[in-house]
Amino acid sequence: MTAPKTSKALKSSQKLSQLVKKYYKDIHEAKAQGKKIVWSSGIAPVELFHAMDLVPVFPENYAAACAVKQISQDLQYYAEKAGYISDLCSYFRSDIGHVLSNCTYLGGLPKPDLLVASRNLCTTHVKWFEVLSRYFNCPLFVWDLPFGTLNKKFAPEFHRLEYAISQLHELIKVIENITHCELNTWRLQEAIFLGDEAARLWIEINESRKNRPAPISCTDMLGNLFVLVTLSGTPIAVEFLREVAKEVNNRVSNKIGIVSQERFRLLWDVMPLWHHMELFDRFQSAGAVFVVELYNYGRVWGQRLDCAQPLESLAKRHLTHMFNIDMDSRVKLLREILREFQIDGYVNHVIRSCNVLNGSTLHLANKMKKELGIPTLTLESDHCDSRAFAPAMIENRIQAFLELLEANQ
């Protein structure tokens, strides 16, 4: 099956596909040149990797790309054949399948020299990387970032921060052992500086969506996230995001939106259905535009960094994203988002195979619905397993939801 086309509104986004291709080419070349490759979970200290000459590779990202390409099912088949049941995270199953089947899409992923799993979202990540560590006989570093709360300045508790920073020092030693090169503080500061600039631009682009009409589509945003995840801390990310920001600002000035008539402004919570990205077009055809995805705007990526305190600011970013803080803090952040972006409706993707997000997002959506009476659509499906996609049921629900929005207008 070939991937259906999804609509991206921006010209600058077209550069993305070149960037993605170049990235996959570069990582293979880097491996061939003897550079060290780190496989990392998605929410990672990528700036530190770049500063220490490690080439970061992201299995989640690759799994999402495979889902867009409609090849996940084949990959997951291999994982299931190896004994991993189909209830387990479909990112995980896709990745294991990619490894076992020697998948060649985009050249596959070059073999790792180091594995880094952050535990600031799920235990699955760590367990998954343990599987990889055994398979590749490769060292694994686990960055344990426990759940916590936020103070008024959005900072984590002191002991949580200390625990996170102490492990970053440990990680630096692990990397030094692998690259045989000491950390250069100047390079770290430079990477943090560039990471901060990328974050600043990312926030600017996101905030431009407070305008009516919103200038950039969620498909653009979710695609561009690739740059932030893989290349934050490099000039490439800054350059790319600058162009996106420029175009977006231009569209705001000229009131150019994503659809001819923006009727409803929506929030999408976590990962999309990577295998059915055209679902967003279904909403857009009714004038319903997603202006926030918590997945990208929930302080997950794109939190500002401070080059005067590089490790501390990295630790803070990773500890305090939307899904690593207590429910009261989440609600507080979310309430603000709903108000500032003038959200008319809330779409909650209950991801069947993600046990950490399917419970938390359902609860969060229930809370917002109860507290604010906001129309809510709950879609039960999966981010990477298209077997959990029931088109007729989903279409019925979307229709009912759009009718509700209509009635509310």
Binding site: A82, K127, V142, D144, V356, G359
Partner: protein, 387 residues
Amino acid sequence: MSELNLVTNMFREINDTASGVGNCRQYNREKFIGYMCSYVPVEIIMSAGYVPFRLSGSTRPITKAYAYLPSACCSVVSGALERALQGEFDFLSGLIIPQTCDRMREIFDVFRVTTNITFYHNLIVPMRTDIIPARQFYYDELKMFIAKLAEMSGKEIGTDQINMAIKNYNVLRGLLRKASDARISATLTGLEYHKVLMAAFTTPPEKVISAINNLLQSLSEKRPELEGRVRLLVSGSVIDNLEQIALLENYGALVVSDDLCYGLRGNVGLIPSDSKDPVSVLAQKYLGKINCPCKYPSQIRWQNILENAKASQVDGVVLMLKKFCDCHWIEQPELERRLKAAGYPVLVLGIDNETAIEALRTRMQAFLEMVTKRKSRGFSNDCPKNF
């Protein structure tokens, strides 16, 4: 087995849904604090003057909980939430839910906003067990927990109180270890042992201590009906439906060892009770001794399971895993591989509390028949076999 009845009656009374409150009154109006997961140090609850009460699911159908939970939720959490929503836990003075597995991590607020319990604490537990800063972090979390509990109860929770609670639990854990060993010597069945455990997790320790003591003393030296049975180790998260253990034993097996939360997993062994800093001792023991797949690294747990299997001379292993319990399922293929490499036949069962016993019966029977044949042919379990 009248002593056993005494213990199991305690458990049944406490868990008797219709009269949960009544039973607590029966225990001199003792106050209970509920908790989920083995990573909650019960000594701290006890030192504040409360009886720790471990929440479990039930076999009754879920009618209310799915309004707040995704359908892909394990029956430990959906069952416990259902019971809470039905008011069965209203007698609790508080509930402690830790951040351990992914489900537990996100369930705290659901309980907090949907149930009638007034005191809640979300205990954060690190995932890494291999570094000192993790222990320090857990120590800080335990201190925060103690401060909150002291404030709520109006009681001082100091070194003496904690050490006293540690002493009590040392006695209880020692007895539970003996009860577990009685399975190995085939003087107690797996079902009986699990009934004792269920009582131990929900009853005032001093009551259950004397009852288990009496039970152990009353055990006969030999129970011929238990000899020659297929000896099994059962591994999984929580088995809160004892019918599932009973079923194995009804078909001629004897569950002689386990890797379960209502079982050996939570038995952290003797804890020094004279430390000037008992919280530090608790942090070290709980983080270091509980073998849960939600933690990193995993090897220690596998080693432990293999050692227990060998020490209790089992003929096979049953992985009884709750549906949607990711951390157990993700380790299952590797654990199964290691067990088989050590020569143990392995049966993998996905269960929840609504799994029809009929559905398990056929697979259990076939497995037990195969293990029995294998046993009669004199297979040894310590040489790797490609089973």
